[in-house]
Symmetry: C2
Subunit: 347 residues, 2 copies
């Protein structure tokens, strides 16, 4: 089991360290951890947020555990040198086209959401976000118009095959859950969404056991606040998925607890907490490592089929939470290492 | 005062009728109401959702009161013939580039939001959404790639002058409120956002009394759930504004109470409830007309400078709500006409 560990910037290293401790405590056969530089940290050392040496480590690994990237000191850099390019580059270079973001309130934590407890408590959804296309990776630039002013432009696009593979990922995920898939687009305005909707509708024929619905993105953003309990699996494009998955995670109330998986064809995947690098609290033992620890659980499940160990980690986190092991994000006083200790104690 | 009244589809006619009753009750000097067809209703009569005769009425009017468009019977039509094209066409043809959507919980209605009452009660924000550019109005189409598959594409773009005029609208609105402007973009991914951010930052120099901040759209979607009370004025592009303004309206809890204004340069404007045509309850006297009545108040304020009458309408609606005049959207049993009667009674 070759796992690349890319800790990154800000709180990335400290939360990743706790997840590594958990992995090491599980006695996994042939566990091999290989560290690599990404983000601002990589830019400082190698002049690039995703240097070739890191990419090689990623290519050689079966799975990647990723911390977070983002560093205010890089704000002055050109966009292609900024820390965020590390994660965008890994997604593209490794063909990580399907981002899975489960959102569910941990039992007893309903009161931590901004939503009313009965609304938050009903949330149990999975967002399947396309990660390799859309306006993220289309041609883009800044041009000078005939009248002399500058215009920024980005091409949004999806081809049938790009939509087809993420649609399959969505239907398969729904099949393994409650059997409902909601496809989100803006087909009343976008031609990109028209192709999206056509393909998702066609793929549905292969999954007669899954109930498909379509929703416009503006309505989806409303419904995620009004009654998020209505959703099982949501499949959507890169840009809408970026917005809706962050929104959904906040409905759960605890961004410090949410993990994500980004999958290529096959079992290769990158696993990361959905929170950012939080440079303001970096190095202070204040960050909650649970989201990264839970990302390690997803890694064992999705890349190595190790359901038992994944469930062991998840139960340990749940048990620690039930004991009141709360980080600052939940209004508690447990530090990064203490939370790691508590989870290890429950393993 | 020449006001075009475009009632549209579904519940549009019945809610608009109540707003017209309110306008007529105010003894406005020289009030002239001119009706016109839009949406599915116009398509049935004229073969187009925004016929030239309607456009002429709109051009000749000082302001437009708009109901709602959208009709399932038109789902089979090509996109350019669908009801939604009426509102997109009016925005473009009349140069309605600034959409103002205030979101605030009516006193006593905090319990109707999916957000916890103390979170919802703190909301008092205004979204200023650009309406004439972005991926809505760029070149778009469906093409066949070299490998034979179809690709849908839409060009996202903003030029400096397009951003500048909406930035001014945002800063001016902030100046008239609590003096804080949050500009939302996705500058870590989009070149369009890069130009957006540059221009907004430059325009800020002309408003030293307004405090400017920038936020990525995914973070904004989170913050709108977590602590919406932090926002005063939010300025953003057409697509992000579509999503965030619907999300914000649902945080308030009562989509049946929210009005909007879409302004051109000068005082010409189009005013509409933010809810849709709700064909499922059309013609049943079930819809809440308050959002349309409040849109008429915005019309008097923004297009005619009639602050006194606008405030009179708003107070009447608030008084009716305080009396428990709730439509079905608020769990009450008041019908469309009864709500109109109640508001008229409080004028
Ligand atoms: C850092 C940024 C480029 C990234 C994205 O927009 O995809 C992030 O927001 C995410 O969702 O992983
Ligand atoms: C009907 C649709 C085209 C429209 C939009 O996307 O602008 C609507 O959602 C709105 O916000 O007014």
């Amino acid at each position: 089991m070759k796992i690349a560990v890319f800790a990154g910037d800000g709180i990335g290293p400290e939360v990743t360290q706790q997840a590594v401790r958990v992995l090491q405590a599980l006695d996994l056969p042939g566990l091999e951890l290989v560290e690599g530089d990404v983000g601002g940290a990589a830019w400082r050392k190698h002049g690039h947020p995703l240097p070739e040496v890191t990419l090689e480590i990623a290519r050689a690994a079966d799975a990647i555990l990723f911390g977070a990237v983002g560093d205010f000191a890089c704000d002055h850099l050109e966009r292609h040198l900024r820390p965020e390019q590390a994660i965008l580059g890994l997604r593209k270079e490794l063909g990580l086209f399907a981002n899975l973001r489960p959102a569910r309130v941990f039992p007893g934590l309903e009161g931590h959401s901004a939503l009313r407890p009965e609304v938050a408590g009903a949330i149990d959804l999975l967002i399947v976000r396309e990660l390799n296309g859309d306006v993220y990776f289309g041609d883009k630039g800044i041009r000078t118009l005939a009248n002399g002013e500058r215009q920024g432009w980005d091409l949004m696009a999806y081809s049938e095959s790009e939509v087809r593979r993420i649609a399959h990922a969505g239907f398969k995920a729904a099949r393994g859950r409650k059997g409902r898939l909601c496809s989100v687009d803006k087909a009343n305005v976008l031609e990109t969404s028209q192709v999206w909707r056509d393909v998702v509708t066609a793929v549905a024929a292969e999954y007669p056991d899954v109930e498909l619905s379509h929703m416009y993105v503006d309505n989806a953003a409303m419904q995620l606040v009004k009654s998020p309990g209505q959703f099982d699996v949501v499949v959507t494009g890169n840009l809408f998925g970026d917005i809706l998955s962050d929104q959904a995670s906040m409905c759960v109330g605890s961004i410090g607890l949410l993990a994500s998986a980004s999958m290529a064809e096959g079992t290769k995947g990158l696993y990361e907490p959905i929170h950012g690098s939080a440079p303001d609290i970096a190095g202070q033992d204040k960050a909650n490592p649970m989201a990264t620890i839970l990302s390690a659980a997803m890694l064992l499940r999705h890349s190595f089929g190790r359901e038992a160990e994944a469930a062991r980690i998840e139960s340990a986190v749940a048990a620690a939470l039930a004991d009141g092991v709360f980080g600052g994000d939940l209004g508690g006083s447990y530090g990064t290492t203490a939370i790691g200790d508590a989870v290890l104690g429950k393993l």
